[in-house]
């Protein structure tokens, strides 16, 4: 009976619950706020289920909703998902549940505001993925900055304000240029902000290049691509665990999603023109950032750099223009969502007990926390792309795709397998194995039921995607094939 409003529900249920949490939240007794937030996030996930069960493996937009919003500029409330957007909405709704579960005993200051920020952001992010109108997309895209800014700035670490402001201004700079590009396209289409109209619009060569660069600025910052990546390690490190999870698992994906939804189909010729440029930046991210990750002393910073490196794989896959690469990139996005969330949650588990993120403060954790250590090692393996985990599938497919283009791309991309294994396993070795390093480690308690829940859930997902990626690729493939066909046609003239 709600079939026609599934997407609206995925957006507005979390937001409504977020507002409810704010209203009922009291600083003295955070429990009602917590349960309301949990109910909201679970309900938010439940309303997403029809997306998975009712999705037809086809290229066109599904679950479409359409209504006029601002007639003066012909802006519509136009929602719909395809094989690219749908998995990301599910991923986001799932992560929101995990974040709410993960905060439970950890956040004690301004609890209701913290939870409300996450719930509202969750709804806004679903809106980003579901929008088929450029202004609607932009509104969600920008509005999302506000809760994220507060999450990093209010509940973050010592240098949180710098990180929050840097994150905000970086993202704003990119997105405002994109807005200018949208307005240009609006004027060109004689008054339409429909993204699908943008896809069909023929654009001249110079204009395409400028539009590409404007949108590139916006999404490259989000991905983030080298050299506009430096906000990410700061933001990740300073954000509370939940913030890091959402940042790594979801908001980075918005950048990749943007390339697929905007850059490639709107400016196909410019995309081909800039492909070497994009591939170069992606490979720099893979190699350079891989090396940088190797020397990090801070676990969160290490995972942050590892995220950049993995996202380099995503953009690499997108810009080699073949089906392996693009599908691999998309699978890598979802997989990285699971794995990075798991890694940050693992670090969060340690941080909650020791209040340190420094690798040097740990050692021999496995002796005191065997269950946790098993999960941590497993996720580290997945992060370094062990076959049988989801991390392997995407990387493998992207590498398969690059082989068809150039040996050197493949060679450089494959170094990630070495570096990835090196930095992740080295960190795990220093933290988990060895002798018990100090009295603090000796006093550690193993994971509780709450922590076990989210770690096990993610482990199952990582394994599922690793051994049976077909479940995901079947959903994505028709859209990817259609996109590739679209991108191969010139829009000049």
């Amino acid at each position: 009976m709600f079939q026609g409003y599934v997407l609206s529900l995925t957006i507005w249920v979390p937001i409504a619950f977020g507002i409810a949490v704010l209203v009922i939240g009291r600083d003295q007794s955070p429990l009602p706020a917590r349960w309301t937030a949990l109910a909201g996030s679970v309900l938010g996930l439940v309303v997403c289920i029809p997306l998975w069960t009712g999705f037809q493996p086809a290229a066109e937009m599904q679950f479409v909703e359409m209504g006029s919003w601002i007639p003066r500029f012909n802006v519509n409330y136009h929602l719909g998902v395809d094989g690219i957007a749908m998995p990301l909405i599910l991923l986001n709704s799932l992560m929101t549940v995990l974040v709410v579960v993960a905060h439970w005993e950890v956040i004690t200051d301004k609890v209701s505001q913290y939870l409300a920020a996450f719930l509202i952001m969750s709804g806004l992010i679903n809106g980003v993925f579901a929008s088929l109108d450029a202004i609607l997309f932009y509104v969600f895209f920008e509005a999302m900055l506000i809760p994220m800014f507060l999450i990093i700035g209010v509940w973050g670490g010592p240098n949180r304000v710098y990180a929050a402001v840097k994150f905000f201004l970086y993202t704003l700079l990119g997105s405002l240029l994109m807005l200018a590009a949208f307005i240009y396209l609006y004027n060109q289409t004689n008054g339409s902000f429909e993204i699908l109209d943008f896809h069909r619009l023929p654009i001249g060569e110079t204009a395409q290049k400028l539009i590409f660069l404007a949108m590139f600025m916006s999404f490259a910052v989000k991905v983030p691509m080298w050299p506009v990546h430096t906000w990410l390690p700061d933001a990740h490190v300073e954000a509370p665990t939940g913030g890091s999870v959402i940042l790594a698992a979801i908001t980075l994906k918005i950048g990749g999603y943007g390339f697929l939804r905007f850059n490639l189909p709107i400016t196909p010729d410019a995309s081909h023109f800039f492909d070497t440029f994009m591939i170069t930046l992606s490979l720099i991210a893979v190699v350079y950032i891989g090396l940088v990750a190797l020397v990090q002393q801070d676990m969160k910073k290490l995972i942050a750099y590892s995220s950049i490196s993995h996202m380099g794989f995503v953009t690499l896959g997108f810009f080699i223009f073949n089906s392996d690469g693009m599908l691999g990139g998309l699978i890598q996005m979802v997989s990285h969502g699971f794995i990075s969330a798991a890694m940050f949650l693992c670090v969060g588990v340690l941080y909650d007990r020791m209040h340190s993120r420094m690798i040097a403060d740990y050692g021999g954790v496995a002796n005191r926390m065997p269950v946790f250590a098993a999960f941590f090692v497993f996720f580290a393996m997945a992060n370094s792309g062990l076959p049988g985990t989801s991390g392997f599938v995407g990387e493998f497919m992207v590498i398969m795709g690059t082989i068809k283009v150039s040996f050197w791309y493949t060679f450089l991309a494959a170094t990630t397998l070495v570096f990835g294994a090196a930095y992740t396993l080295w960190m795990v070795k220093r933290v988990v194995f060895g002798e018990v390093a100090n009295a603090h480690v000796a006093a550690l308690m193993d994971v509780g039921r709450r922590e076990l829940f989210f770690l096990a859930l993610l482990a199952v997902l990582v394994l599922w995607m690793g051994v049976y990626p077909k479940a995901f690729s079947d959903v994505m493939n028709p859209t990817i094939q259609e996109l590739l066909r679209h991108v191969s046609q010139s829009k000049l003239g």
Binding site: P227, T230, L291, V292, Q296, S323, I331, M397
Partner: protein, 180 residues
């Protein structure tokens, strides 16, 4: 010990899944099958065939010889290694250090990668991108704001003068533009 534990299941899982994984339909249509893979598939006769085939190759017998030697030297005659070591002089040292490959690897690859990483991080990320490009821009704007703020002197005649300059500026601008 953990390695053995890992090895045993991997033998079985490998034997069971290698066929469908590499040559079958595991990934569905998601991975396009290349010509090389097709060629390899022709040589493929199943997991047991591969095991049988292994028995006829040289590396397999060398490995067996290695296991035999080790069993002889360390289990049957544990006194022998010391004697051999004494007789051969410098060679055991080289062998024990594995021809120096590990040290070289440690120093060149691991150390080099770490040094390179540190360099890229402190120079690339911290100094050039963050230091000069990001914070530098912020500092530049801040400096400029400070300077521009100084123009707000508080004197009426400065303000009035700015206005007059503005009017004359516009006049000149429009006259030049229209080429009167």
């Amino acid at each position: 010990m953990p390695l053995i534990l890992l090895a045993i299941p991997s033998v079985f899982i490998g034997a069971m899944t290698i066929g469908p994984m590499l040559y079958g339909d595991w990934f569905g249509s998601s991975i396009a099958r290349s010509a090389t893979m097709e060629a390899l598939a022709k040589e493929w006769h199943g997991a047991f065939g591969m095991m049988v085939h292994a028995l006829t190759t040289l590396p397999f017998w060398l490995a067996i010889a290695g296991v035999a030697t080790a069993w002889f030297l360390y289990i049957l005659r544990p006194d022998l290694p010391a004697v051999i070591k004494k007789r051969l002089g410098v060679i055991p040292v080289i062998l024990e250090r594995k021809y120096g490959f590990d040290d070289f690897n440690d120093w060149f690859f691991a150390g080099g990668a770490r040094r390179l990483g540190t360099g890229l991080w402190s120079w690339g990320d911290k100094t050039i991108i963050d230091g000069i490009m990001v914070n530098g821009t912020a500092r530049l704007i801040g400096w400029f704001a400070g300077v521009a703020r100084g123009m707000q002197t508080g004197y009426i005649y400065h303000y009035a003068f700015t206005m007059i300059v503005g009017v004359f500026g516009f006049l000149t601008f429009l006259l030049l533009l229209n080429k009167y």
